[in-house]
Structure formats: C-alpha cells, structure tokens
C-alpha cells in the first residue's frame, strides 16, 4: 500500500497548513494562559492570520495549480478571496475585542474557533473536489454553530445556535445529496471532471438536473437567499454581535466561492437550468429582504434582512452570465458578482463594527433607536455610519452604488431588463430603512448622552473602514479591475 503513496505537492496549500499548525500551537499555549494573559492568544491569532496573508501573497503566481490528487486548487481567485478573508477576519477580531472582554466572552475558544472557521473557508475557497468542498463547509459550519452559542448563559444565543445547527445540517444534507446525484450522473467527484463529463454529453441529464436542484438549495441556504433564509434573521439577532459580525462578513466570500466552484466551474454546461433557479431565488430575496427590513426595530435583524436582499443582488449577478461555449463569455457577470460580494463584506464589517462601537459593558446597542442623536454624541462616527448606510442603499459616491451598478449592467446585458427594473424598484424601498437610520442619527435628539468610548485602534480601524467605503466609491476602478483580473486568470 505505502509503496504507491506519492507525497502531494504541499506548496499550494501552504497557508492552510500554516494555519492548521498555528492553531494547534495556540490550542496548547492557550491552555496555560489565564484571563489576564488572553491578549497573548489574541495577538497570536492576529499574527497567524497576518502570516497566512504573507504566505498567500508570496506564493501568488497566477497559475492554476491542482494538488492532493486534484482535490485542491490554488488559483488567483483563491488567493484573492483568501487575502480578503484574512483581512475581514482580522478586522472582525479587532472590532470584537473590547466587546468580548467586557462580557467575559474573550475565551481561548473564541480565537480558536475563529481560526478553524477561517481554515474551513480557505478549504472551501480552494476546493476542486466535492469532498474537499464539503469538508471545508462542515469545518466552517461546525465552528460557527459553536461560536453562536459562545455566550452559553444566554438562552437566545443557544436557541439561535440550535436553529442554525438543525437547519445548517439539513442544508448540508441537501448539498451532499445533490452531490451524490451529480456523482451518479457523471461518475466523478472532481469538479473539473464533472465539467468534462458534462461537456462530452455522457451524463444522464435527468439525474443531473435533479441533483442540481439540491445543490442550488444548499448554496442558497449558505448564502441566505429566500426561501432558504429562515435562519438568517434569528441567528443574526440571537448571536452575540461579534459573532454576527463574523457570520455576516467572511463566510459570504466562502459561499460565493462555493457557488462559483460548483455552478460555474462544475456545472456550467447546464447553466440555463441553474440560472432559472437562481433567478427565482434572486427576485424573491430582493423583494422579501427589502420589505421585511422595513418592519424591524432591531438593528441586527434589520441588517439580516438587508443581507438577504444583498445576496439577492449577488445571485442576480451570478445568473447573468451569458451562456456560450466558453466561460469567459460570462466574465463580466461573475466579476461583478465578486465585486459585489467584496463590497458587501466591507460595508457589513463597518455596519456591525458600528454596533460594537455603540455597545459597552452592560448595554447592547441593538435597537434601532439606540442610534438616536448619534450626530450630537459623535459627529465623526455618525458620518461613518451615514456613509455605510447610503452605501448599502446604493447611493453614489460610495462603493455600494458601483457594486449595484456593475450587477445591474450585467443583468441588463444578459437581457434581464425587467428584472433590473424590479431590483431597482426594491432598492428604492430598501433606501427607506437605511434612510431611517440616518434620520435617527441626525434628526432626532439622543436618548442618552454618554460619550462613545472605544479603544483607539478600533476607532482608527472603523474610520478607515468608513473611509474605504467612500474612497472605493470615488475611485472604484482599482478594486473592479482586480476582481476581473483574478477571475480572468482563474476561469
């Protein structure tokens, strides 16, 4: 047996291996640390992520490299997404530190679980095989279930974790079932192999489309698209804010990668089937997300519904690829989807960061009314939040506008003019609840006058986050071109 063993090329998976080793080290180190020394764990976590970023950056060469018997792929898209992933996790950790410390939640588990979730996402991003993808997804999901229940004395958090777990397990099951169908039809679990089998036309179409339905359902669940969105508002609201922040940012990148790998890399030849399915999901998500958000009085819940509508836009971009003999025909649509998800992650980090900023020991800034009169308490952070809200609403000059712009352009290009008009009308409805936050901050008197307290690094980072939303709006080309280039070299 062992004679046939070939050592796989470990080079492309260096960041993952580094992260894995470091997390094992941390696991040991943390066992010897008390609460007072928790900062060591935090710092080591940040260093680990920075190290991953460095390795990924150093090994980035634009080549598509497959390793581990074609189970793992390292391409420019993966590197690009991973770099964004590290950044968003680093930012999430820094935003969360004060909040967790004030509530005694800054346990070693938090940092470890975050690292394992990150590892899961990295594996998902680099998956070239159904099994790899599934493993990464499960690692991510299991870590997140535990994180949601991090505050174990909170019944709401526990309930949210239960709900997340049950529904998440169901969705994983659906996905797995779909994969098995596709395996049955094509005889391979490799994503590249599936694409080849489809291209040659040897696959049984009926079984394939049947499997596709389940795969799309699984993806829709992970993205939180209607009608698989039920968990989103409850988990967003029930989880502690730092965990919501985490769930609302980085996993969207991984879910996007999953959708892209499965649908575009694997099942491109039956694109017209999944495009029609995504169309329904997109339209429903945009409509329901925007309508339901209006009725919310809890910021986290409102942002959850807003996330649903944003995922609708993302799906709209994904389905707008024109079907041709070559995936490159659809480059425009996929790069706008990538751009959209990047923009969304930046905005989402900022918005939840603002909630963390407003919260302090013994006080959760969860109600929308907690933003009342922020302009009088801190004009600067009111401006940051205003920028974030207008950006999410898709008002220029902010990044959110250009993300919507790129998506709508792709949709119109694909002939979905009516859907574009529909999306635009619901953006108008969506503008209302973002405007309401601005109204509360600027037009209303504050309910309390306590000054905003936060550590300087968080203030700085949050300011940079807000500035990024504005600057990427004034100069949107760099990020757009980067997204396009990363995809161009990886399709």
């Amino acid at each position: 047996m062992l004679k046939n063993f070939v050592t796989p090329d470990l080079y492309p998976a260096m960041p993952e291996l580094f992260l894995l080793v470091m997390s094992c080290v941390l696991l040991l180190v943390d066992a010897f640390l008390g609460r007072a020394q928790r900062w060591i764990t935090a710092t080591l976590t940040l260093i680990t992520l920075a190290g991953c970023a460095l390795i990924t950056y150093q090994t980035m060469d634009g080549q598509v490299v497959l390793t581990f018997s074609n189970m793992f792929v390292d391409d420019l898209l993966a590197d690009f997404l991973k770099l964004l992933l590290y950044f968003s996790v680093i930012i999430a950790i820094i935003y969360s530190r004060d909040y967790l410390a004030a509530r005694g939640l800054d346990k070693g588990e938090y940092y470890l679980l975050v690292l394992y979730a990150t590892l899961g996402m990295m594996v998902m991003i680099s998956a070239a095989h159904f099994l790899t993808l599934y493993l990464g997804l499960e690692l991510l999901s299991l870590s997140l279930y535990a994180l949601v229940a991090l505050d174990r004395d909170s019944s709401r958090a526990t309930e949210a974790a239960m709900k997340y777990f049950v529904l998440g397990a169901l969705a994983s099951g659906l996905l797995l079932y779909g994969m098995s169908m596709v395996y049955g039809a094509t005889g391979t679990l490799e994503i590249g192999g599936v694409a080849q089998a489809l291209h040659l036309g040897v696959a049984n179409k009926t079984v394939l489309v049947f499997g596709l339905v389940f795969i799309v359902a699984g993806i829709a669940f992970k993205l939180g698209a209607v009608p698989f969105h039920m968990w989103v508002p409850d988990v967003y609201q029930g989880a502690p804010v730092p965990i919501t922040l985490l769930i609302a940012s980085a996993p969207k990148l991984a879910a996007f990668a999953m959708a892209l790998r499965l649908l575009v890399y694997g099942l491109f030849d039956i694109a017209e089937h999944w495009q029609n399915m995504l169309l329904i999901l997109a339209v429903l998500s945009i409509a329901l997300g925007n309508l339901a958000a209006i009725a919310q009085s809890n910021v986290k819940r409102m942002l959850a519904y807003s996330a649903i509508s944003h995922m609708g836009f993302l799906l709209l971009a994904l389905l707008s690829g024109t079907v041709g003999p070559d995936r490159h025909y659809a480059l425009n649509a996929y790069s706008s989807a990538l751009y959209y998800v990047v923009a969304y992650v930046i905005m989402s980090l900022g918005a939840f960061g603002m909630i963390l900023l407003m919260s302090r020991a013994g006080f959760e800034a969860e109600r929308i009314d907690d933003f009342k009169g922020l302009n009088r308490r801190s004009p600067w952070f009111a401006a940051v939040m205003m920028v974030l809200m207008f950006s999410m609403a898709g008002i220029p000059f902010f990044i959110g506008f250009f993300a919507k712009f790129a998506v709508l352009l792709a949709a119109v290009d694909a002939g979905h003019v009516a859907v574009a008009v529909f999306a635009v009308i619901f953006s108008l409805i969506g503008a209302f609840y973002y405007l309401r936050i601005v109204k509360l901050m600027y037009f209303d008197a504050p309910e309390e006058s306590a000054p905003i307290k936060a550590s300087p690094d968080m203030r700085f980072l949050l300011s940079v986050n807000g500035a990024a939303v504005a600057l990427f709006g004034l100069f949107p080309d760099a990020l757009m071109s980067l997204c396009t280039y990363a995809l161009l070299r990886s399709l």
């Binding site: 302009n375 000059f397 290009d413 037009f443 080309d477 396009t484």
Partner: protein
C-alpha cells in the same frame, strides 16, 4: 486652454467643506471659512463665463480622462452655452446662502455650511458632466446633503418632508439608471453623452427611454402631477435649503431634458410633445390657481415655482429657438427671483417665526427697506417688464404663439395669475394697518440682509433691462440643439 476650471468649480466647494467641518463649534471661524470657500468657488466660475466663446456651439473647457476604464466611464467635463450659466448661477447662489445663514443658524453651524458647500460642488458636477455615469453619480449624490439639510434644520414636519423628497426623487433617478445601462450596451460600450446624441435608436426604445428620462426629470422639475413633494420640502426646509432647492435643484430636471431627452430621443420627444405641452400648461394654469389660495407664504412661492417651471418645460417642447431660449432665460431669472422671494420670507420668519400670511400685515410701516425689496421681487415674479421675470415669459409666449395661438393664449394667463397671487400676498403682508403688536415691533433689515437682497435685486433688474449678455451665450448652443433635434434618428 485652462481646462481644469470645471474641476475647480466642482471640487473647491466639496473639499472646502472639510475645513469647515473641522472648524466645528468655533462659529466665527466656520462662517468666515465657509464664506471664503464659497467666494473662491464663485471666483473660479467667472473665467468660465468671460473665457467662454459664444460663437461656438460645442463643448468648451473640456476635461476628459478615464475614471473607471473597466466600464469605459470617463471623468468627462465640459460646458456649452446651455450649462455654463447654471454653474455661474449656482456658485453665486451658494455665496448668498452662506451669507443668509450667517447668524440665523444656531445649531450645528459647521455641518449646515458644509452641507451647502458640498451640494454646490455636486450641482456644478451635474451641470458639467458629459459622461452619463458621472452625471448620474452627481445627480443622485446631491440628494444626500439636501436630505440632511431639510431633516436637521427644517420645520416641525421636516422628517416627513425629507423622506418624501429623497424617495420621490430617487424613484425617478433609479429608472433613469436602467435607461443609461441600456444605452451603454446599445452604443457598444460607451457612456459618452456626446456619442449618445449621435446614436440611432428605433422608435419603441426611444419612447421607453423618453419615458424613463421623463420620470426622472419630471419629478425633479417638478411637473404636474408629480409635484407634490416640492411644497412639502420647501415649507419644511430652512431658508437656505429652499433657496437652493428653488434656484438650482429644480433646474436640474429641466437641464436633464435638454441634455438627455431631446437629443437622445428626438423622435420620441416630438411624439410626446403634445403631452408635455399639456402637462406644462396644466402646471402653469392649475398650479397658478392653487398658489392663489395658499395661506402659507413659502407654500405660495413653492406653487409659484412649479407654475414657472411649467413655462420652462413648455418652452422646451415648442422646438423653436424662442421657446428654448426663453425657457433658459426663465430658468435663470427664476433662480434669482424665487431665491430672493424665499430669502424675503426667511427674513420675516427669522423675526416672527411664522410663515402664515395672516400673521402679518402692515409690515411696510416697520420695515420700509425690506418692503421695497419684496415689492420689486414680487413684480419680477409676476413678470413685470424691465424685470428679469418678464423676458423669459415673453419669449416663451411668443414662441408658443408661433406654434399655436391657443397654446400662447393659455400660457399668457400666467401674467394674470402670477400677478394675482404674488401681488395679493404682498398686499396682505406689507400693506394695510399694522396687524398685531409683533409686527409693530419688527426691525428693518440689517446690513447683512440688505447685502444679499440688494445683490439679487441688481441681478433681477440688470437681466430685465439688458438680457443680451445671457442670451448671447446660449444662441449657438440652442441653434445647434434645435438642428440636432430636427433630424430624425430612426
């Protein structure tokens, strides 16, 4: 050629808002910084006018460089005879607004001044953008400062008015966005407006485009029946907000017709011209009657604005030089006159905190200087010869008689209606016996108020007596536009 002037006109006010914000609670510093920025913004627009070559119909002071190469979006600025005047008007009004808010605004002064400066820059951007995305971006971004201005410094019902303003105008512009995207694909990947003007388009798409633009611009003008946001916004906005809204923002919609609807969809424009003329006449006559019964001064002026803007859209869709030039003159004149009227109401409101006509009476006895100004502006609003109000209205009426006598007749009723509602208001506010002790205790305008009213009075009179410097600039561009619109694109 000094081709960075337009960029300066846009970015000096926007970036100049930053030191104003930074000055924070130090009020004298805020005021003088804001004034300096506004004056600098105005100063850089002067060479635009004096360096403008009126014999040329094309774009001047052009700046063109890539902005988003990914989608072939350019930072493409330029002005022709149609737009240059509005940049001047806008920068001038901004100076007045800063002076008008000098000591009246007590709360968050820095944000007030900063918001107006940013808005001024954005609106210069709208008037000079020749790239559709750039135009759209400025067009929509200008909603943000206005929303804040109405909501923070507005009257009791400000929240309702701010939301209504924002959502109403956003609805219009979002449909326009889809139209712009469609045009981008149809033109083979260009957002260049000048290229779009040459694009051949079938009749049905032209009609759909025209309707999409119509929604966007009609809301902004505003045309009847989508005008209902304007009275609310005007009544609740602080004086400066009303001035900018009436003097500049309303012009954006009308400008959009000239830059988008007419040249891109000329056949549809001709097809829909009867509808547009009908809507304009309804605005002129019906809204004129509505203005007559208003008890609130600001509301009255707001309705009078809608009625006057009806004249503007009427002029555009007559498709003759008199009509379009008249409409443009009317736009400029209305910028001065409505701005002045709102400032006058602001002067009264600052003293008595009421905008109800019934709360006043006999103001002339206590504020003779103010009364003089108000009578002058009221006359201009009513279209008295030798004031700026007369020139544009007269040209449009002449233009419409050329097309159809009855249109001209209907339009001419504005001379009666306008006189009726304006002068009746003036009569009730200024003349008669002193109505109540508060009015008896009024103090006449101070030097600051005298300054901005006198500046506006000068403009109104100068334009009424000698409009040539204004019409001269626009001749070539308007002729060019008319020639372009006369050619079918089918």
């Amino acid at each position: 050629m000094s081709s960075f002037l337009l960029s300066l006109a846009i970015w000096i006010p926007i970036l100049g808002a930053l030191p104003v914000f930074a000055a924070g609670e130090h009020k004298p510093l805020v005021r003088w910084t804001a004034l300096a920025v506004a004056l600098a913004g105005f100063a850089v627009t002067l060479p635009l006018y004096f360096g403008f070559d009126p014999s040329q119909a094309g774009m001047q002071f052009v700046e063109q460089r890539p902005w988003i190469p990914r989608f072939n979006v350019e930072y493409f600025l330029g002005v022709d005879g149609i737009s240059v005047l509005f940049i001047l008007l806008n920068s001038f009004i901004t100076v007045l607004v800063v002076i008008a808010g000098w000591e009246v605004i007590e709360e968050k002064l820095a944000q007030y001044m900063g918001a107006f400066l940013i808005m001024s820059g954005l609106m210069n951007g709208i008037f000079s953008a020749l790239d559709a995305v750039l135009f759209y971006v400025f067009f929509e971004a200008s909603l943000i400062p206005m929303y804040i201005i109405i909501g923070v410094w507005g009257g009791p019902n400000r929240v309702y008015a701010a939301f209504k303003f924002f959502l109403y105008t956003l609805l219009g512009s979002l449909l326009m966005l889809v139209a712009l995207l469609w045009l981008f694909l149809e033109s083979g990947g260009s957002f260049n407006l000048l290229e779009w003007h040459q694009l051949r388009i079938e009749m049905l798409p032209q009609m759909l485009l025209f309707l999409a633009f119509l929604v966007a611009f009609a809301v902004k003008v505003p045309m009847w029946p989508v005008h209902t946001w304007l009275p609310d916004a005007h009544v609740e906005a602080p004086t400066g907000g009303s001035v900018v809204l009436a003097a500049i923002m309303l012009k954006l919609g009308a400008y959009g017709f000239l830059r988008f609807s007419l040249p891109i969809a000329p056949d549809a424009s001709h097809y829909f011209a009867p509808l547009m003329i009908a809507l304009s006449l309804i605005a002129v006559i019906y809204i004129g009657f509505v203005a007559l019964v208003q008890a609130d001064m600001k509301k009255l002026i707001a309705y009078s604005s809608i009625s006057h803007m009806g004249f503007v859209t009427l002029g555009f869709f007559l498709f003759n030089a008199l009509g379009i030039e008249g409409a443009l003159v009317q736009m400029i004149s209305h910028g001065f006159v409505s701005g002045a009227m709102f400032l006058c109401v602001g002067v009264l409101y600052d003293r008595l905190h009421s905008r109800q006509i019934a709360d006043y009476g006999g103001v002339v006895h206590t504020m003779p200087k103010f009364a003089g100004f108000l009578v002058l502006f009221a006359m201009a609003n009513a279209g008295l010869p030798a004031t700026s109000g007369f020139v544009g209205e007269f040209m449009v009426i002449l233009g419409s008689v050329k097309v159809n006598f009855w249109i001209g007749l209907a339009a001419a009723t504005t001379l009666i209606l306008g006189a009726a509602y304006t002068l009746w208001m003036v009569k009730r506010v200024l003349f008669g016996p002193v109505a109540n002790p508060q009015v008896a205790a009024l103090e006449d305008i101070n030097a600051r108020e005298f300054l901005f009213l006198a500046l506006l009075a000068l403009c109104v009179l100068a334009m009424g007596v000698y409009p040539y410097p204004i019409t001269e600039v626009m001749h070539a561009s308007v002729d060019n536009l008319l020639k372009h619109v006369a050619v079918s694109k089918l």
